[in-house]
Symmetry: C2
Subunit: 438 residues, 2 copies
Amino acid sequence: MKGKCLFKYTNTIVETVGNNGLSLTDIKNISNKIEASYNKLLEKYSNKQLGYMDIIYDDLNKYYELMEHSKDFEYIIVIGMGGSILGTQMVYEGIKGVYYNEYSNKKVYFLDNSDPEKTSDIINLVDLNKTLIFVISKSGNTSETLANFYIIRNLLKNNVKNYNKNIVAIANDGTLRNIAKNENYMLFDVPKNVGGRFSVLSAVGLAPLSCMDIDIEMLMKGAREMDKLCKNDDIFKNPALMNAAIHYILYNNNGKTISVLMPYIERLHKFGMWYRQLWAESLGKDGKGQTPIVSVGAKDQHSQLQLYLDGPRDKIITFLKVNNFKQDLYIKDSNYLNNHTLSELINAEQEGSEAALTSKGVPNVSIILDELNEYTLGKLIFMYEMQTAFMGELLEINAFDQPAVEDGKKITRELLMGKSIEELTGFKSLNNRYIIEM
Amino acid sequence: MKGKCLFKYTNTIVETVGNNGLSLTDIKNISNKIEASYNKLLEKYSNKQLGYMDIIYDDLNKYYELMEHSKDFEYIIVIGMGGSILGTQMVYEGIKGVYYNEYSNKKVYFLDNSDPEKTSDIINLVDLNKTLIFVISKSGNTSETLANFYIIRNLLKNNVKNYNKNIVAIANDGTLRNIAKNENYMLFDVPKNVGGRFSVLSAVGLAPLSCMDIDIEMLMKGAREMDKLCKNDDIFKNPALMNAAIHYILYNNNGKTISVLMPYIERLHKFGMWYRQLWAESLGKDGKGQTPIVSVGAKDQHSQLQLYLDGPRDKIITFLKVNNFKQDLYIKDSNYLNNHTLSELINAEQEGSEAALTSKGVPNVSIILDELNEYTLGKLIFMYEMQTAFMGELLEINAFDQPAVEDGKKITRELLMGKSIEELTGFKSLNNRYIIEM
């Protein structure tokens, strides 16, 4: 597999983007902070707090039995929320493409919401007898995951003999793990020190992906290659540390509160969605954090580029570019497009946007993959995990928790147990004012 | 069709969200400005500058011949970029749902990028003999649209007799209109005073939608209902004017530079993508503009909510909520979930997030639809078009142009004509520095 990648930060430097950029002096000025962040993270790693860095050296043999078992099925449903499912979706679409279900005999559905229409649609599209179901919740108690699982399990109970063979659970604890044990499902767990959004290279991602014709060995090989680079204490040779420092400086000194990831290949859209959780949930706390955005090129040039070029100067852009596409097509009959390929067009568009943004003083970095395959995707995933962890240290926050989301969950539970929103929040007196019927 | 909708702005008021909110005094303080903005927009309308407000009263009979013609086809491909395609996708998915292609006999593909893998995939999935192709570019010169069109037209020429019957063009001008006339395609145009991102209720959207089993009469009826409300000069009865004023005040006085649209129904995800263009491209200029973001509930509670609750106080949230889903499912076997439906769960989650955000001082508005159908979607579309136009007046910018995107397009063209990026931008000396191989 072609595996060469480049990280280019030319267009973050004052020489190219002017005052909106940084200088090497800015990096030197915080070199103590960068070194301390690097050391602190490596210390956490030594203290066995960062399981996501260990799991990439795991033995993958544990998935072979499952892989064999999966061959009996024509459909796969993955049930999970957030970090339990986004990584799997990201790798699956990143390798197989957006239209894979319309080509393939084995159809894959991601049940990642509590929208009743989505759950109904998916149930109606599969033959449950021939469906392998992954149900994934590290805590074992995620309400949307359990709700969808209960609905499907009831249907299985009533329609499928030995239905427990149709279910694979990934849960460390809670209701889901209890059910899995009682009903004798195939069961995986996740090292306790691996957080949900950092778990794609654990059983959370690898168990389902091993059943979806994804080369998980190459994915891990890419991650391990990147791991070597990210352990380098020379920032000029460590892309994750350098990109974290660049984002930190531009956030802290230059008011770049928004980080836009802009892949120029549709297969990386879900990588963007995975990145979005990683960056937002890890770093958005204590009033700090950049807001992540995913924009897909070239199409979003016709939607978001006007704002990026001429709106507030609050953004740093990351381009993801692929040199070689799986397929390509020649364009005939035209003027300047004649005898060019579509890949030449989309990459020239990326270069055009990059040049226009740079000349307007919008700082941007580029990650250029020779080709998008399991190996390069593994590199990219691990680079972003490390970059997020370094950024957490630079911001002096804990990148591995998400304390704020509990309040809303509690209110939801109490509403379902019969309390009223007025009792729970006391907004009653206002609720009938400030409404326009339409 | 059920059509009741509510716009609720309770949680933008200081009494609920504290200092991050606004008071009725804030609205009164700028009542002259609001009145002037309202008058200016209505004046532009009187001067026939705002075609998007006129087209909703158009006669729809012109689509009936096309609708009949389309019955001979099993596939539809829509080719277009940005405003030429996002609105059609938004209505199609908004009514038919995400999985429609897997259910329906008539399959619809949106070719909205210059990604060669996407174009190849779509071509391989259809039988061109049985495919009706819409090619849409108001200028007639959009490069990605032409590139995709040339590729498909060549295939049609070589494989389909009377291939011109397979093509419907929507173009006012340029190369595309010339070809359409020369080769005798069915051809529609768009009133000159209707901008791309405001064109979904013109032929741009209505021609393809009329062939996709969408009730375009009801869509227009909804828009016309909303038009009445949006012409009301009393801000307390005009949801578009009120929501524009709220966004303006919170942007201007309270630093809310990011506007998050958060539908709690998957069918409205593409509405968010359409809104994203409308808001960004209309308002992102002269250093001004809010950055729009789409977040889908409940799933993004597991991805973005931590940041919204505990990150920087730079956001206003808009919830889109639907009371009645097309399908629903009962949950059994659980604790607090028992005997609830999935729709009760997702709506309780919306209420939980709303309450949590409000108590943390994050201002939020809600638009509540009794049901999501063509009629309510038409209302929503027109409300957002009016709100964007009012916001443009409040920000004192022209909401109807997009001047900044030309530079990048020019560089792309010149790259394809053989110039080098170094010649065009002069970055050569930097290009080999600031790169990390990986």
